[in-house]
Amino acid sequence: MVDLLSIDTINFLAAAILLVSLLVMASTRMGQLVRSFAIQSIMLAAISVVLAHYTGSEHIYIVAALTLVVKGIIIPRFLMYSIDRLKVHREIEPLVGIPASLLISGGLVIVAYYVTEPLISSAEAVTRNCLAISLAVVFIGMFMMISRRKAMTQMVGLLMMENGLFLGIISTTYGMPLIVEIGIFFDVFMAVLIMGIFAYRINQTFETLDTTFLRRLRG
């Protein structure tokens, strides 16, 4: 029972996620960055709900709930808290100018589609462009970490890559075994916590979160 409505909604939401990640690339303020990450996670939860309904496997509902709670609310809250605590300079000084990074993200999306093009012919309808979009979001997340100075933006970049990953998981495999899903959630959460601790320590020793100062170990 190919439910056309759900496929369209999934595609729409996937496209929305891609749009948000491009929005993140364009954001110049730290708060704006975190908020758009939160929106992206919420959309991801929505997709998983629709997919659960479409495929009828219950445990995806749990996953969706987890995404909504952990990624949608707790992590952004934690990020905003640490931004305030560390009195991080709100302005994001990008290494690569905003217009240039947007162009490159566009290029990355094209590359993602080019790479997944042979797979799409064999995959099912639903997963057809979700896989490409997940790959694109992963690439953009990575590029985000490369092109921004602040340690915080690197954390957010990593989380965006995780979101892209989740989109991939849901679209191709309709949810991996539950233990694995929960394990991944737990790991992502731990990673964010530990990065927060390290960011705090770096801020203490270097008085700034600007990773371009971290250049003492050479050669």
Binding site: L119, L158, G168, T172, V180, I184, F198, L214, L217
Partner: protein
């Protein structure tokens, strides 16, 4: 029953965390690692000789047996060595009792997470364990509160997390490629299941997933362009930890790559091998450049780990009974020799209080035993014959020659000779010459020489003789790669 093996390090970690006195921490830590070793022996024996142990969650086959041996032996030696190493640091006043407790607990947690990587059947769980090792070891890298340590741990954390995320994407694609072969049921991520159905995996998806996994886990394994975190992490971490990192952690990441390489070799023969050869040679070339020009002794050893990981990847890439046997033997030989070298470097750094190789002179007079062991280790790590690494390299070269790809063999030998020259120059430069004035003679402690002596004898023994037990175990591993040993 595999749980017991995993529980022991956890308990030791807990005990170390809560024990009050310094002595108690040391006793718990060393005892814990020895017990883990004892418990691991029957499992390894089972894994090597009585066929794979497959109990749903856990899966033990000769490959995991080999890596388990490496993990357990090296962890025991590292905990033994770090007793005196940290005692010296305490006397120097660099760390307090809390840090000591914290260090030993994390050490055993690190060992636990690596054991899980090797033991678990499902690739997803394996991924989680690898992520766990990164998180735990990030703290260990940032153990000293200096700014360089912070920088090194941050870089380590970020680059490895990115790498691992890509690896997860690879695993997902692998899972996707197995969907049409096994149908969309739940537990298709178990390696044993995938192994049985490897022939029908979707080749296009498999190729892309192998690329992601190789780049992702390759970052953790220190293969060439992704190795950038390795020298920083190894030079800033406490020396026993950098020994553990380069001798064991890199191998665990390589273990993951090899698991998928076995699958990919079935479905898309030749694709993964040529990739491994490419990365092997690339890491060898880049490591050569850095070995010739590095000044810090621990960065020098870190780059030699990149070089040896390249050799192992090259060995598995070339394939064929000889080369794979060489690569498997090289895993064992490299971890033993690299630990010996790091222990030696540890002694030297604590004595001379500097890591710059040009300031370390006259080691032969100030610390004769360490100098002798360092010379042995140096000759071994550079690949001169009476030691184990030479045997590994010899087998890989003969495997390459038998396969007929002379260009690879020629490049391999040329780079090896350059590295040999660079390494011996550095190491013998350190040992000879006159030491600076006012440096007290004599070793720092007797206990730390014990593990070094054991390692030196082990690599010399492995170099000259190969007892039946070891050769049967290794050929069992080689069979796994679908190659008649």
């Amino acid at each position: 029953m595999v749980e017991i093996l995993l529980l022991v390090p956890l308990i030791t970690a807990l005990l170390c965390a809560i024990s009050r006195s310094e002595r108690a921490i040391f006793v718990f830590s060393v005892a814990g690692s020895l017990i883990t070793a004892l418990v691991a022996i029957p499992y390894c024996y089972q894994a090597f000789f009585e066929g794979p142990v497959d109990t749903g969650l856990w899966y033990l086959d000769p490959l995991s047996g080999l890596f388990m041996v490496v993990i357990v032996v090296i962890t025991a030696l590292v905990s033994l060595y770090s007793v005196e190493y940290l005692k010296h640091d305490r006397t120097e006043g660099e760390i307090n009792i809390k840090d000591l407790r914290y260090y030993h607990a994390l050490l055993h947690l690190f060992a636990f997470s690596m054991l899980v990587v090797v033991v678990v059947d499902s690739l997803g769980l394996m991924w989680i364990a690898v992520e766990g090792t990164t998180l735990v070891s990030a703290f260990l890298v940032g153990f000293y509160k200096k700014s360089e340590a912070m920088e090194a741990s941050w870089k380590y954390l970020i680059i490895c997390s990115v790498g691992i995320t890509l690896a997860l994407l690879g695993i997902i694609l692998l899972y996707a490629s197995s969907v049409d072969a096994l149908g969309a049921n739940a537990d298709t991520l178990d390696w044993s299941v995938l192994r049985s159905v490897a022939g029908q995996l979707d080749p296009a998806l498999l190729k892309i997933s192998f690329i992601f996994i190789l780049v992702g886990l390759g970052t953790k394994a220190g293969l060439a362009p992704m190795h950038t975190w390795l020298p920083d992490a190894h030079s800033q971490a406490p020396t026993p930890i950098s020994a553990l990192l380069s001798a064991v952690l890199l191998n665990c990441a390589m273990y993951g790559v090899l698991r998928v390489h076995i699958l990919a070799n079935e479905a898309v023969p030749g694709f993964s091998s040529s990739l491994l050869i490419f990365f092997g040679l690339l890491s060898l070339a880049i490591a050569t450049a850095f070995i010739l020009t590095s000044r810090d002794v621990k960065r020098f050893l870190a780059f030699s780990s990149v070089e040896h990981m390249g050799i192992i990847a090259l060995g598995f890439g070339i394939g064929g009974p000889l080369a794979v046997f060489g690569a498997v033997f090289h895993v064992l030989a490299h971890s033993l020799t690299k630990t010996l070298m790091f222990f030696g470097a540890g002694n030297v750094i604590q004595k001379y209080r500097t890591r710059e190789m040009k300031d370390i002179k006259g080691l032969g007079r100030t610390m004769p035993t360490t100098a002798a062991l360092l010379v042995l280790g140096g000759a071994a790590i550079a690949g001169s014959p009476p030691f184990a690494i030479f045997i590994g390299e010899l087998f890989i070269i003969s495997g390459a020659l038998v396969q007929g790809d002379y260009l690879v063999a020629g490049l391999f030998i040329a780079l090896l000779v350059i590295i040999f020259a660079g390494m011996t120059y550095r190491i013998f430069g350190m040992v000879s010459g006159k030491p600076q004035e006012g440096l007290p003679e004599g070793e720092l402690g007797k206990l730390r020489l014990l593990p070094m002596l054991f390692l030196a004898l082990a690599i010399l023994g492995l170099g000259l003789f190969l007892p039946e037990v070891v050769s049967d175990a290794l050929s069992a591993v080689v069979e796994l790669f679908g190659v008649s040993a």
